[in-house]
Amino acid sequence: VTELIRDARHSMWKHVCGFSHCVRAQQPANGKKGSLLRIRRRESSSMAWWNPLALIRDALTGQRVRENDLRHLVSNLPYEGLGKKKQPNRYLPGNAIKTTKYTLLLFLPLNLFEQFHRLANIYFVGLAILNFVPVVNAFEPEVALIPICVILSLTALKDAWEDFRRYQLDKKLNSMPCFIYSRKDKQFGERRWKDVQVGDFVKVLSNEIVPADLLLLHTSDRKGMCHIETSNLDGETNLKERKVVPGICEPNFEPESFNSVVVCERPNNNLNHFKCYVEKPNTEKVGAGIESLLLRGCTVRNTDHAIGFVVYAGHETKSMLNNNGPRYKRSKLERKLNVDVIFCVILLLAMCLVGALGHFFWRQALPGVPPYLVPDSNGHVVSPSLSSFYMFFSMIILLQVLIPISLYVSIELVKIGQIFFITHDIDLYDEETDSRIQCKALNITEDLGQIEYIFSDKTGTLTENKMVFRRCSVMGTEYPHKENGKSYKRITEEGRPTDSLPGNHVNSANSLSHIAVSNFSKVIDRTNSSAQETEVIPDRKLLRRVSVAESTSISSQKMDPHFDFFLALAICNTVVVSMGTAQRRRVSVLFTVIKAGSLRNIFAPKRDRTFSDTSFKEDDRFNPFPQVDDSGVFPSHSQRDESSGLCYEAESPDEAALVYAAKAYGFILLSRTPDSVTVRMPSGRVLVFEVLDILTFDSNRKRMSVLVRHPITKECVLYTKGADYSIMELLGAPGNQKNVVADTQYHLDCYAKEGLRTLCFTKKVHGEEYEQKRACFVAKAAIDGREQLIMDTAVQLETKLTLLGATGIEDRLQESVPDTILTLREAGIKVWVLTGDKPETAVNIGYACRLLEDEDLVINMSCKNKVRSHLTSNISLVIDGRTLAMLLSKDLQGRFVELAKRCRSVLCCRVTPLQKSGVVKLIREKLRVMTLAVGDGANDVNMIQAADIGIGISGQEGMQAVMASDFAISRFKHLKKLLLVHGHWCYTRLANMIIYFFYKNLANVNLLFWYQFYCGFTATTMLDYWLLIFFNLFYTSAPPIMFGIMDKDVSAEVLLGVPELYRTGQGAGEYSFCTFWVSMLDAFYQSLICFFIPYLVYQDLDVDVFTFGMPLNAVSLITILLHLSIEIKAWTVVHWIIMLGSFAVSLILTLLYTSCVTCNSYWTLQNQLTDPIFYLICIITTVVALLPRYTFHVMRNSINPSPIVQGRHLDRLDTSTKEAWIKEWRGYRGGGEVKRSKLSTPPSPSTPRTPTSPDFLGNEITLNCLNWGCPNPFDRIRTF
């Protein structure tokens, strides 16, 4: 802080100097240096708006104020009602945001400017203009203008619509209501977000969204605390505490009396860092940091209201600075395409050069002026050199089809068609939310087929963000909670197709029927938008055991361990109890807001009455032996809504899950105040525990403890919960515990393998000795060295613990996530998980969703330990946020990428949104791979925009990810079909279509080129110009588009069953340098054949130009269409109609056109159709032209079939054989199904095995620990 202040003084000095300079310049007489404020005020008052110099000066001052390292902000209130020029904070931007690109007036020029960034557009406009130059003798120059105009205007329309949507969204955000203090009204008045200014006082009510970055000055809480939920920023749904700036908070906060100056740093995008100090009028300075800042976009929870001083507004807020603007995405294929277009341009220029030179030499060789050399309109014959110069441009016009504008149009059309099919896929439809997949980006469908890296968010994307209590082990006995597991399993299992081949009719029917069955759970899901899954079905055996325990403990005054276990569950946490059922609702589209009034205030004074009320209800509901019917439906579901009056809000969802679990067994946490906890026993007795101390969770100890005085025994009891390794080493007194510890450890290992989050619970009775130590706890109130003190007390207290048991909590994965991840990995895609969560949680989830495998070598990278790695096949990497920050630095980047490249999967924990996009960018740029980012929260927006493809999951956490995404899906599992099937199809279709298009144009244009050798290179066409236009416009346009939309090389079943097929699209894919040039060569060959066979036939006959052109046209058309039919993999009705249709259309249209009397080619086709030579030419030319390609295809397919061809072979088998084959093949590869079933059956408790059993030891040894540096407890979770 002192440093900051020194900084501040320094820069303030500079600041004052700057201002005084201005002042002196303006009013030389007034050289007095007053306070900063006074100078500013005077300056502004003397500023005349009509003085241009003053305006410029004003702008410069504003610039300086904004650019200054430190900002001095004062309250706006004294200036309320004064003009704009008088406002002290007028240089700082307001809270209105504008994310639109264009304005109404400047739309046209800006958009055109934007569009001309596309090289092709410039080229086409240039060509269109060239058409108007008279010397090139273009045909109907106006016609050339039409296509480019259509393209430009369509794109402009699309852009305008997108910008309009952004505008509407901005408007919506800007006009959200908020409360600003007004001096006139002496109270907070309702205004809109855009009215918020820096220096205003804003009041935010509970569950409202913070409109700007606020320095917290006052809250309704008497301790000055305020809870916020930052899920919109970083995806974490737990509550975070924010404190008011100390020393400002008076019991009755009056904004008008706030006369301090807030000095804060320049806005930056670091969400976890903020520096500022408040300078009071008596020059006392109070420092404040991020812990006093409410960020825009956060939601205030559990606090009735909070009042803050606006420090940053609008685009300067941290959330907006974290929000990079959208990147214009261009698909990889399109980038490659542009390279090839450049090749084509070179080719075109070469051909034109050949034409121009040829014309020159031909002209030079002429001995005189022959009658066929037409002089210009003045009667002069143009000189050979000038004429050949003109001819160069004429050639460009003639051969312009080589770089086809129609290609760009066709690509757009194909993509629209592909998107139509993607959005109409029934497998990508989610019944629960009644949502289809949304394709927001229209131009990157084919990128879906080339993905090599997937970056996924964890919370809400892989998991449902619902913690479920799954299992527990009490005193060495396992209670598997089978029903609990079943109720979840049933939902997931039924959604999964029985034949492991989604995309079947069976599947869709199946999932439909399942709606009805699991309807109840959906109702719950919809009504209860809280993140925690509250439903726990008690284990019957344990329930019986507990009721026995209770009766004995009551009678004997001795606590049964089971009893203690549940008490520990209920007490040992920091869960806040609140009441709120009816108020829970969604208030806006953009943010999910949970209305929940805090009950603490109600509970504290009139505890008894509330108890009697609720206990009556609860008793009614709670049945010690709930009847579980066969269907597995728990009967109390229907009552749930009215009975669950209590609502637990916890910092971490696991805590809430534990409290709910305790509640299910009758141990109901009723209220919590700073010094007492009230729990109701299963018997209905209400126990009030005096809380003596809470040793909060920290990441070093990995545990937390609560010290309470037991109301019955009056003992001081310490309940501790924590990670197993941190607890196990603190256990005291072996003896009786030995077996319990061994069994529990075994259970813990099993839980961990299942991907459950494990926690151990212990108890310790302190008795009298506690009183002596109490004195030193009081010292804890002192601020200095607080953490050290907690550590010390903890060390003293948390010893010789008695193990009670362990729990396994499931961070419930979304439906078929492991299966999806496994399939994606088989498809050659590397999956990275970037999460803001703790490493422990992340690693657990990593195992649960099969991102990490048991046999993997997992490298943990954190700042604390060094890593030495050697190469094995399966490496996974776990990195935490701070390490990642180091790795992203310039000098380590290369090595990090090198390491990451070898890793099969990477888990990054504690990552900020900006880091997420940093990682994505790094991988994308360094490895030059296709990346896909999938996420659901506002914290994923950056990542989504940075990746080549951003996918938003429309889920619980608002719509911001969806808004920023290119595709919005509703389930993670949809990714599988989206990538493997649609991605593959879109890519192969479009790639083949583009290659075909290049071929088609070259083959067609080359015919014209070859003819130039016989017409003195004068850019003559042997076909009527209109017929040439028709050829591209009508005859050969529909088939490639249809091909690009509908062709299906391999069926969806096989693509899903054999994910390896996806690899064909990765890297270069089908559209590679090689395929492009092969098809170009083929086009050359075919054009040679198509030109010279007719030429050789006709050269001795009396044939006119257009009669000669007709068979060329026909042959070219037939060859091009037949070429396509070689490429078409599956002929549906549509294919037949379009192929035969375009042939028929070409025939009819040409016949119609050649009936035009004044046209050059009058009656030529009719004449040709009666000539046998025409047919003879057509047959032989087609055969010769297509022979090489056809033979090549046959050769390749029969000698060295590509995986795709093998897949097609597989497709031809009948359904049952196909399935058997896929299954067998999966088994051979070692698909996951087998292993998972092995894990999910819990070990029978009757045969307890010690942790030292050879099985376990073997595992530990063979999967060598790789951590060499200082021991990091976290490594032990999963460092094999």
Partner: protein, 341 residues
């Protein structure tokens, strides 16, 4: 259920075969086993066609005679080198021998070499609307005709443009120096040498309105290279004049290549000895030598051919078919060998 577009599943996509991309499809596999029969079939077809064509083409006969500067025509050639002699008439006579009688219809062509009728500006330099008889275009030729749209005096040129201007204006008189002493002129059909549609639809004289052809074309000028106006192209056949003059029509159909031949006439087989074609023997041809070729190193020819069902003496097509047949066969054998291993 899927049809009902309301309720909870309102946005559910149709489960139709088309939208779910499950349309029944025929997906042929291009492997050796499936396509080999097709290869062999194609080889056989090409072979048979080739043989047939080869046999047919054997019966076709052709006689080509270059008269540019050969024999008696040499002096005419030299004369035409000087533009100032354009008005002088020059005729020359050449002799040729027919070894085998040309049976059936005999077609008389004139051939030009190095004459590019297919240059872009040359081809465009015409007005089809004028030639179809539209009066407005007659008096106001299209701008494409420039600089041959109007003459020096500003009169519109009919027919306008470079194509008509550069018409081939040599004429031929063939004589059969038969077995006896009598030289018998070879009668030619000079009409019916153009396409029926050209003669009757594409090229029409302007509406006559009871006027004579000369009156209709009054106010127009002939093309600068022409010696005669368009309505006096054929002196002995009044109907074959104006835009429907068949020589003009044939010339106006621009040849595809710089070396071309155009039909001049067809043998009239009404009288002896030409009833079954041209008999064996000596012939002479008297050429009115007008067309200069020295500006473009051109050659002029007279060509006599008979035709078969697929056009003239075209040896290329049968050979191409035979070669193709061999290629397909080779490919098929290659496939068989490679894939059976």
């Amino acid at each position: 259920m899927a049809k009902a577009k309301s309720g909870p599943l309102a946005r559910r996509p149709d489960n139709s075969a088309f939208k779910q991309q499950r349309l029944p499809a025929w997906s042929p596999m291009l492997t050796a086993n499936t396509v080999l029969p097709f290869f062999y079939f194609m080889a056989v077809i090409c072979l048979l066609l080739g043989i047939w064509l080869l046999l047919t083409v054997q019966s076709v006969q052709e006689i080509r005679m270059d008269y540019t500067d050969s024999g008696a025509c040499a002096h005419c050639h030299d004369l035409r080198k000087n533009v100032s002699n354009a008005a002088l008439i020059c005729t020359c006579k050449l002799y040729f021998h027919v070894d085998r009688p040309l049976k059936g219809d005999v077609f008389f062509y004139y051939g030009l070499q190095n004459f590019h009728q297919n240059l872009r500006r040359y081809m465009d330099s015409r007005d089809d609307a004028q030639m179809v008889g539209r009066k407005t275009n007659l008096k106001k030729p299209s701008s494409y005709c420039k600089p041959f749209a109007t003459n020096d005096k500003g009169l519109p040129i009919a027919p306008c443009g470079a194509v008509a201007n550069s018409i081939f204006n040599d004429s031929f008189k063939f004589q059969y120096l038969g077995s006896g002493s009598s030289d018998e002129p070879v009668p030619l059909w000079r009409k019916g040498i153009s396409w029926y549609t050209d003669k009757n639809i594409k090229y029409r004289n302007p509406q006559m309105d009871n006027l004579s052809l000369a009156e209709v074309f009054h106010g127009t000028a002939p093309p600068p290279y022409w010696h005669r106006p368009v309505y006096e192209l054929q002196t002995h056949d009044a109907i074959n004049n104006g835009f429907i003059n068949e020589d003009l029509i044939v010339w106006m159909r621009e040849a595809a290549f710089p070396n071309f031949k155009k039909l001049y006439g067809i043998l009239q087989r009404t009288n002896k000895p030409f009833e079954s074609g041209l008999p064996k023997g000596n012939y002479s041809v008297e050429i009115t030598y007008n067309f200069p070729v020295q500006y473009f190193r051109g050659r002029k020819q007279v060509v006599l051919t008979t035709l078969n069902w697929f056009g003239g003496p075209n040896k290329f097509l049968p050979i191409a078919y035979l070669i193709t047949s061999c290629l397909v066969l080779l490919a098929a054998i290659g496939l068989t060998v490679v894939c059976k291993e």
